[in-house]
Amino acid sequence: MSTELPVLTANDFASDQDVRWCPGCGDYSILAQMKKMLATLSIPREKMVFVSGIGCSSRFPYYMNTYGIHSIHGRAPAVATGLKSVRPDLTVFVITGDGDGLSIGGNHLMHTIRRNLDINIILFNNRIYGLTKGQYSPTSPKGKVTKSTPMGAIDNPLHPLSIAIGCEATFVARSIDVHIKHLEMVLRRAAEHRGTSFVEVYQNCNVFNDGAFDYATDRKIKDDTIVEIEHNKPLIFGKNRDKGIRLNGLEPEVVQLGGAIKEDDLLFHNELAEEPSLAYLLSRMRHPEFPEPMGVLRAVDRPRYDDELNKQITVAREQRGDGDMNALFRSGETWTVS
C-alpha cells in the first residue's frame, strides 16, 4: 500500500450504480457536495464507510465508491458504533433522515451522540416520509396535511438540533441542500471534528413536500429568514445587513441596527462555549419569528467513545499484561484428578 496521499476528485467517489432519487430531489446536491468535500480530505477511499438506515436518504451509500452498509430502519448509528469501536482507523459517516433518525431510530441517535463516538451523522430533513410515499414525519409542522393526516397532524414536531444539543452533542451544524458552498463548508467542518458531528441539512422533497424550505432558499426573502452564524461574529442578517439578534435576558430578540443599537450590543456567536445553552438558544430560533441559524452552532472537544474504549484495552494490557488464556484457566481454585 502506498503511503502517498491520494489525489482524488469528486468523480472518484462515484460508484458504478445509477442514482435513483427522483429528478430534482435535494439529495443530489448533498451527494455532490459530499463527494467534492471528501476529495479534499486526503483520506483514501478504502478508509471511508458510509452507513445508513432506511429511507430515500439511506440509499446514499450505494452511490459512493467507498465501503458502505445500507442497514435497517433507524439503526445506522448503532451499526456505526460497532464498526467504529473495533476500527477507529476508519472515517465513518451515518446518513439518515428525519423519519429514520428521529422516529424509529431516535434512541440510537440519542445514545450515539451522548457517547461522542467519532463519526459524522448527516440528517437529511425533508419533513416528510418520502420512500413510503408521503406520510408526515416527526419534523412535519403541526397541522400538516398528508396521506396519514388528512385533517392535519396533531403532533408537535421535533427539532433535530435541539435534540442533538440535549444529547450533549459536541458538534452541531445546519445547512441547506441548495446552498452548495455553505453545505460543503459545513460537511467539511463536520468531517474535521473529532467526536460525533451532527449536521441537519434542509432537503427539499420535491415530490411529497415540495417547497417546505422555500422560506429559507427563496432569493427574495432568504436574507431575512436565515442567519449565517460564524464564530466570534455578531448575529447580523437582512438584505442590507441591518438587522441583528440581541439577547434580552434569556430571550433572543430581533433588533434593527443603526441608531442606538450597535453591533457590539448584538449576540456574538461562540461555537466553543463549554455550556450548550447558547447553542440551544440558537437551535430554538424558528421561522417566522426568527431567522433560522445556518452554520456551526457548537464545536467543542470532548473525549470520544471509541478512543476511550480502546484506551481501556491498552491500559488493561499495560497493567495486567497481554491476556494469557491458559494462565486464566488455571487461576483460582482448581484441583487435580490423577
Binding site: 435497517i72 460497532g82 488493561a316 488464556m325 486464566l328 482448581t334
Partner: protein, 630 residues
C-alpha cells in the same frame, strides 16, 4: 450403600469423634430468604465439594425480585447441590438434606426432601410472624408433622450472634453471618474442609477485617456446633469421584461460554466485540467478558437489544469476532437485525440464554421454549445455523463450535443455552488452549486495477469472502435489499431472488456436511430412542442409564446441532420402535423432527420453570418401552 468408619478428617479442624458414614453421593439444598445469602452458601459448598474431588451438579433457583418482602413464600431462594463419588449429570431429584432458614423456606421446599432426610432449620425464625407469612397455623417444629424426617432445630440466630460477640457488629450485621453458620454446620455434616471458604472470606472481605473475622467465626461456630451438640450422632463422607484424570475447576455455564468465546477469538487470531443489553439470565456473560480487556475483549453495553445486535453487525463488517448475548425477549427484539445479518452473510454469534416465556415470562426460571424462535424467528426465508449446549462445561466447547461454523460459512450462528445451564455449575476439565483446533479466518487482500471486487462470489461451501474496510480496491456496499448473485448489487430480479433464497438455504444446509455423526448411547437398535437437546441432557442420560440397568433396550441421542440436524439422525431414529422427545416446552423439537423425518415421535413436556427430575423421564421410558419388549 453405606459403610461406617470412624474419624474422617476436615483439614482445618480437628477430626470428628463421632462415627462417619460413607455415602455414594448426596443432594443438599440451602433454602432461605432471598436476602439470606443462600446462593453464596450453595456456591461455597459446591466449590468445596469440587475441590474435595466429587463430581458435582447444581441447581440455583431464585425469585425474579431482587428483594421480595422478607419471610414471604415469594422471596424464597434456593441452591441445590448434588455431589458424588461417581459421575453424575443432574442436581438430583430429591433431597438428602434440606437447610431451611425460615418457615417460608420450609414450606416451599419440604416436599422435595426424601423421607428420613436430614432437615436442618433455624428454630428461631419460627416466630409468629414468620409462621403466619408461610401459612403455618401451628409450629411445624412442634406439632409432630415433621416426624418422618431427621429434624435438627438449631438456634442459628443466637449462635451466630454469640460467635461474633466483641467485634462491634450491629445486630443486623451479625445476623447477616447466619449463612456462614449454616455452611459450617453442613461442612461438618459432610466432613468438608473449611479452607476454600476461609480463602474466599479472606479474598472477599480482606478489606473489612471485622466482617471477615465475623464470617470466619460464624463458619467455625457452625462447624463446632455439629461436633459438640448431642443432636448429631454421626457425620457423612462422600469420596472422590473417578473423573477423567486432569486438572479441573468448577464452572458455571455462563462463565464457560465467556471463556470459550475468548478461546475462540484467540484461536482465530481475532479480537472480540460483544454488543449486549443487560437481561436475566444472560447478563453474567457481559459481566465476565467485561473483565478481560487485556485479552482485547471490547464490550459495548448498548442502549437496547436492537443496538446490541446492529452494533455487532457493524463490528463484524469491520472484521472483528463479533457477538451478542441475550434471552428470549431480547432475541425477539433482535429479529430484524438477525435478518440483516443473514442477508449480509457476515459471521457472528447470537447467544440466547433461554428463560420461561412468553413475554417477560419467568425471568429467573429455565425453559427450552425458544427453539422455534431460534430456527424460524425472522421474516422471510432466513436460515441460520442453531446449536445448543447441553451442560455448563459444554458451553466452552460450543462457543468454539459456533465461531467455527460462523466463519467457515460466513453466517450468523445462534447458540442456545438456558437458565439452568447458565447458572448451574459442574467440574470442567481445564482445556489447553494451545492444543485446541485453530479456527482459520482470512480476508481478501488489496486489489488493483479495474476488476471489481465481488463480495458475493462463493467458495465450494457457498461461503462468500469477508472483505473488510481499509483494504484498497475492495470498496463495496452491502445491505438488506436483495442482492444480485456474485456482484452484491441491489437486484429486484425475480429469478435472482429465487436463486439467492435457494443459495442461502443451501449454504446453511451445507453445515451438516462437516458435522460429526450423531452420538448414540446404548443399543444400536431397540424399543425406544430418547432424543433430547439442551439442558435436559443430564436428566435424560441418567434416566436412560437407569432404564438400561432395568433391562430395557433404550438408547439416548442428545442433539447439539438443531439446524441443520446431523445427516444420520433420520436413519438413527428409524432403528427404534419409538422415539421419545423430552423437552421443557410443548414439543418444539418433536414438531421439527416429525416435519423433517415423518417419525411419529412422542413427547414428554413440562413448563414449570424447573428442569426434569430423572424419575419423570424414567417413568415415561418405562411406559413407552415395556420390559416385555426387551
Amino acid at each position: 450403600m453405606s459403610t461406617t468408619t470412624a474419624g474422617a478428617t476436615a483439614s482445618s479442624t480437628s477430626p470428628t469423634s463421632k462415627p462417619v458414614v460413607t455415602l455414594k453421593g448426596a443432594t443438599v439444598r440451602f433454602a432461605g430468604d432471598s436476602g439470606d445469602g443462600m446462593q453464596l452458601a450453595g456456591m461455597q459448598m459446591t466449590n468445596t465439594s469440587a475441590l474435595a474431588g466429587n463430581d458435582i451438579a447444581t441447581f440455583p433457583d431464585f425469585p425474579a425480585e431482587i428483594r421480595a418482602p422478607r419471610g414471604t413464600l415469594a422471596g424464597v431462594s434456593g441452591y441445590q447441590l448434588h455431589f458424588s463419588s461417581t459421575e453424575i449429570f443432574t442436581p438430583g431429584d430429591d433431597l438428602n438434606a434440606l437447610v431451611a432458614m425460615n418457615p417460608a423456606a420450609l414450606q416451599t421446599n419440604l416436599s422435595d426432601l426424601h423421607d428420613g432426610g436430614l432437615l436442618v432449620v433455624n428454630q428461631e425464625a419460627f416466630d409468629e410472624k414468620g409462621m403466619r407469612q408461610a401459612g403455618y397455623a401451628q409450629n411445624p417444629l412442634e406439632d409432630g408433622s415433621l416426624r418422618k424426617y431427621q429434624l435438627f432445630t438449631v438456634p442459628m440466630t443466637s449462635l451466630t450472634r454469640r460467635s461474633v460477640e466483641g467485634l462491634g457488629l450491629s445486630q443486623k450485621e451479625a445476623d447477616r453471618c447466619r449463612n456462614f453458620l449454616a455452611m459450617g454446620l453442613v461442612y461438618w455434616l459432610y466432613g468438608r474442609s473449611l479452607d476454600p471458604t476461609l480463602r474466599y472470606i479472606e479474598s472477599k472481605f480482606g478489606g473489612k477485617p471485622d466482617l471477615a473475622e465475623a464470617n470466619v467465626r460464624a463458619l467455625k461456630a457452625g462447624y463446632n456446633y455439629g461436633e459438640t451438640t448431642d443432636a448429631f450422632v454421626s457425620s457423612y463422607q462422600v469420596d472422590r469421584a473417578r473423573l477423567k484424570p486432569g486438572r479441573y475447576r468448577n464452572m458455571t455455564g455462563n462463565q464457560a461460554l465467556a471463556w470459550g468465546l475468548m478461546a475462540a477469538a484467540k484461536l482465530s487470531n481475532k479480537e472480540m466485540f460483544l454488543g449486549s443489553y443487560p437481561i436475566t439470565p444472560a447478563s453474567d456473560i457481559l459481566h465476565e467478558l467485561s473483565r478481560y480487556k487485556n485479552f482485547g475483549v471490547r464490550t459495548f453495553q448498548a442502549e437496547d437489544e436492537i443496538a446490541a445486535i446492529t452494533a455487532t453487525i457493524g463490528a463484524a463488517f469491520g472484521g472483528a469476532m463479533s457477538l451478542t448475548t441475550s434471552s428470549g425477549p431480547g432475541i425477539a427484539l433482535k429479529g430484524e437485525g438477525m435478518g440483516l445479518a443473514v442477508m449480509l452473510e457476515l459471521p457472528m454469534i447470537i447467544i440466547n440464554i433461554q428463560r420461561g416465556g412468553p413475554s417477560t415470562g419467568l425471568p429467573t426460571k429455565t425453559e427450552q421454549s425458544d427453539l422455534f424462535q431460534a430456527v424460524f424467528g425472522r421474516n422471510g426465508e432466513c436460515p441460520m445455523p442453531v446449536i445448543a449446549a447441553r451442560s455448563p462445561a459444554d458451553c466452552f466447547d460450543l462457543a468454539h463450535e459456533a465461531w467455527r461454523i460462523a466463519t467457515r460459512y460466513m453466517t450468523p450462528v445462534m447458540l442456545l443455552s438456558d437458565g439452568y445451564i447458565a447458572n448451574g455449575s459442574e467440574p470442567w476439565l481445564i482445556a489447553d488452549v494451545d492444543k485446541m483446533p485453530k479456527i482459520p479466518v482470512s480476508h481478501p487482500g488489496p486489489q488493483e486495477g479495474d476488476e471489481p471486487y465481488l463480495p458475493y462470489a462463493r467458495d465450494e461451501r457457498l461461503a462468500r469472502p469477508w472483505g473488510i474496510p481499509g483494504t484498497p480496491g475492495l470498496m463495496h456496499r452491502i445491505g438488506g435489499l436483495e442482492k444480485q448473485d456474485i456482484t452484491g448489487n441491489v437486484s429486484y430480479d425475480p429469478a435472482n431472488h429465487q436463486h439467492m433464497v435457494n443459495l442461502r438455504a443451501r449454504k446453511v444446509a451445507n453445515v451438516a456436511l462437516e458435522l460429526p455423526p450423531q452420538e448414540v448411547f446404548g443399543p444400536e437398535r431397540g424399543s425406544l430412542l430418547v432424543l433430547s437437546w439442551g439442558g435436559t441432557y443430564g436428566a435424560c442420560l441418567t434416566a436412560v442409564q437407569a432404564a438400561q440397568a432395568e433391562g430395557l433396550t433404550v438408547a439416548h441421542a442428545h442433539l447439539r446441532y438443531m439446524n441443520p440436524f446431523p445427516r444420520d439422525l433420520g436413519d438413527i431414529m428409524r432403528r427404534y420402535d419409538r422415539v421419545l422427545v423430552p423437552e421443557l416446552n410443548l414439543g418444539q423439537l418433536r414438531q421439527l423432527i416429525r416435519a423433517e423425518y415423518l417419525v411419529p415421535a412422542v413427547g414428554l413436556n413440562k413448563v414449570e420453570g424447573k428442569p426434569f427430575a430423572v424419575s419423570e423421564v424414567l417413568a415415561k421410558i418405562r411406559e413407552l418401552a415395556p420390559a416385555s419388549k426387551s
